[in-house]
């Protein structure tokens, strides 16, 4: 089966799957920064909670996977409403304190999860999508396919939301310039809360979706957060198209590098790459450069 063609297709397919996962993770992160100027260190923890709640509803309450996923995401979003008040709203426009606050929150959520779910890796079982598809000598677990499809759908939906809905437009105005937005009678607080909820919802969905493919641990958020960092730096902080481009780059790149050169090299390469990129083009590949 190991013809070089099938190898290439396999690399491409793996890359595609990874890209979809990364896009799911990065979207909410970059959104929150684009509009609230908050670097959300707790993004990974919310991602983790999304996975854990989905696990809870699916494996413990035996709900069908998609209901569990939705319920899980909504639960985390609801939790988000509370968190927004205690750990985010007081720090809008105060970057420094914001970092420490979200950091403290991240630690709290992670270790609360340790107590609720333990440190042992959990898995959403029975696997909702056991089948494995075979395409041109390459294989693609159906679970991955589900991630790809839903990610694509969500990105399109998000695009529609920001382009064609009132709230979406408000979002973009605020991103451009809060003062102008206020002048135009947009209620900043509404937009902020809406943004925050969207971001949390996306993080949680990502967790629940990706969770069904892998194992769940309270520390799973850390890696997700670092991936989000790399992606937004590649694509440009706060730029939604950028985060998608970044995800695709990182996804395909990781798949290729890992397959051809192995993990260590790949990881170092990424960090060196973003350092160089930041040095020559701080605003990322698609980010708006602002003075």
């Amino acid at each position: 089966m190991a013809s070089s063609l099938s190898l290439v297709t396999q690399i491409a397919i793996n890359g595609l799957a990874l890209s979809a996962e990364y896009a799911m993770i990065a979207l909410g992160f970059t959104l929150l920064f684009g509009i609230l100027r908050i670097v959300n260190f707790a993004h990974g923890s919310l991602f983790m909670l999304g996975a854990m709640f989905t696990y809870e509803f699916c494996t413990v309450f035996h709900l069908p996977y998609f209901e569990a996923l939705l319920l899980g995401a909504l639960s985390v979003a609801a939790l988000g409403l509370l968190l927004e008040r205690i750990a985010y709203r007081p720090f809008y426009g105060r970057e420094l304190q914001g970092i420490i606050a979200t950091l403290g929150l991240a630690i709290m959520l992670q270790y609360a999860a340790v107590i609720l779910w333990g440190q042992q890796p959990l898995s959403i079982s029975p696997t909702p999508f056991p089948a494995v598809l075979h395409i041109a000598g390459a294989s693609l677990p159906s679970g991955q396919l589900v991630i790809i499809v839903i990610a694509t759908f969500l990105l399109l939906a998000f695009y529609y939301f920001t382009r064609f809905t009132k709230l979406g437009l408000a979002l973009r105005v605020v991103a451009e310039d809060p003062e102008i937005a206020q002048a135009q009678g947009i209620h900043l607080n509404v937009v902020y809360v809406a943004t925050f909820l969207t971001s949390v919802l996306l993080a949680a969905l990502a967790g629940g979706l990706i969770g069904q493919q892998y194992t769940l641990t309270p520390s799973m958020g850390t890696d997700a957060l670092i991936k989000a960092f790399i992606i937004v730096i590649l694509g440009g902080l706060g730029s939604v198209p950028g985060s998608i481009l970044g995800s695709v780059l990182l996804g395909l790149g990781t798949s290729t590098l890992d397959t051809l050169f192995g993990g260590n090299i790949a990881e170092v390469t990424w960090f060196v790459a973003i350092i160089v990129l930041l040095a020559v083009r701080p605003s990322g590949l698609l980010g708006r450069s602002h003075g």
Binding site: A2, I11, L82, Q120, D258, N264
Partner: protein, 397 residues
């Protein structure tokens, strides 16, 4: 929706509050009565990673030790040198770092006056602890892979979990005998001490048996998608894919994903106990998986222990827990026999405890040849195979 919101606000609020209230109680409740109320307490130190990497191992130490202590206290305490002691666990997190281990050890030794410590697990914290415990003649029963742990700090330190050095050669030999057709081996391991120190040893063991290692790759800790590495491994046509000492979670994912990308040949694990979890994670894809295992769930003592564990704690038991429990058992028995708290006397007693029955079989100390000190616990081990979702012991070595 709004209701949901309220419910969850409530839910969170309560969990947090209750959690904080329960915390101290939980501590208290873990001290069961038994010895006379006026009995002096003997602090037994516990060190393990409760946070940071390898967080699961910390609970293995805390609970394994606690269970052993409960046994002693509930049966009237520990009589040493004419006095009956009530044992008390003092457990500290080492954050899986050297400085964390050093801090925990220093605190136990100099602030809590602990003379005996169980744990930690993992080279960094243990290497951080030993200089301090060594200087204070404090006895440590721990598990860190680094060979220096016994070579340099062997005097008062015992390693209570068999390492690759002990079980890799017989495992490779067994594979050679039962799979004569297999020629090539592949490894995928994290780029930490497992990939850097353990895998090379396993590689040696395989090569000694005439196998050819055609693939040996590391991944960054936290990686969850191994398909790229697996894809390349399959290009190398490996007959045996060895999961070495990958943590159960990673091992499970590796099995699952290897099968998903269409790897058909043998998957074995030389090291890293926790075959049950692999089955849980990989599900039906785990069938045919062969693993080293040293914990026979059918053993009477083991059965009793597992029952005891689940009576007290819920959730999955970490596979290091029985080791830490056993370590504590050995320590307490040594104290009884030595009938003294003097470090040197206790050490020599432990040295001569061969034959003392544990759930891993009779105690046997080895390591003279490799480490220059006989402080390595050797346990008999099994080779288990997953057959339609069930774990079967297929060989005992």
């Amino acid at each position: 929706m709004l209701n949901l919101v309220r419910t969850y606000r409530l839910l969170l609020a309560t969990t947090v509050v209750v959690g904080l209230l329960v915390a101290p109680l939980a501590q208290a409740s873990s001290k069961t009565a038994g010895p006379p109320p006026n009995a002096p307490t003997l602090p037994i130190g516990g060190v393990g990673p409760l946070s940071g990497g390898g967080g699961a191992w910390g609970l293995a130490v805390e609970r394994g030790l606690q269970l052993a202590i409960d046994d002693v206290n509930s049966s009237g305490g520990l009589r040493v040198g004419g006095t009956v002691y009530r044992l008390k666990e003092v457990m500290y997190d080492d954050n899986y770092t050297g400085v964390g281990g050093a801090t925990a050890a220093t605190r136990l030794v100099t602030a809590d006056g602990a003379k005996f410590i169980i744990g930690s697990i993992g080279s960094p914290p243990v290497l951080g602890m030993l200089p301090i415990t060594q200087a204070h003649h404090v006895i440590v029963l721990s598990d860190g892979f680094a060979s220096a742990i016994l070579r340099k700090f062997g005097t008062y330190n015992f390693r209570v979990v068999p390492t690759t050095t002990e079980f890799a050669p017989p495992m490779a030999k067994w594979l050679r005998e039962h799979y004569p057709a297999a020629k090539t081996v592949g490894f995928i391991s994290p780029n930490d001490e497992i990939g850097q120190i353990l895998v090379p040893e396993i590689v040696k063991a395989y090569q000694a048996q005439g196998f050819k290692v055609v693939f040996n790759e590391n991944y960054a800790r936290g990686t969850t998608d191994f398909t790229p590495l697996l894809t390349r491994m399959m290009e190398q046509k490996v007959d045996i894919f060895d999961l070495n000492s990958n943590a159960p979670g990673d091992a499970g994912l590796l099995v699952k994903q290897a099968r998903q990308v269409g790897y058909k040949n043998l998957i074995v694990q030389t090291g890293g106990p926790g075959i049950g979890q692999v089955v849980k994670i990989a599900g039906p894809l785990a069938n045919g998986f062969i693993s080293y295992d040293n914990f026979d769930p059918n053993d009477v003592a083991a059965k009793h222990f597992v029952a005891e564990y689940h009576a007290k704690y819920q959730g999955v038991m970490d596979s290091y827990t029985p080791y830490m429990y056993t370590a504590a058992q050995i320590l307490f028995e040594a104290l009884r026999r030595a009938n003294s708290l003097n470090a040197n006397e206790v050490v020599s007693t432990i040295d001569h405890m061969d034959g003392y029955p544990t759930m891993f079989g009779p105690v046997q100390w080895t390591g003279q040849r490799v480490y220059g000190v006989k402080h390595q616990l050797a346990t008999s081990f099994y080779i288990a195979k997953v057959i339609d979702g069930k774990v079967h012991v297929i060989a005992k070595i």
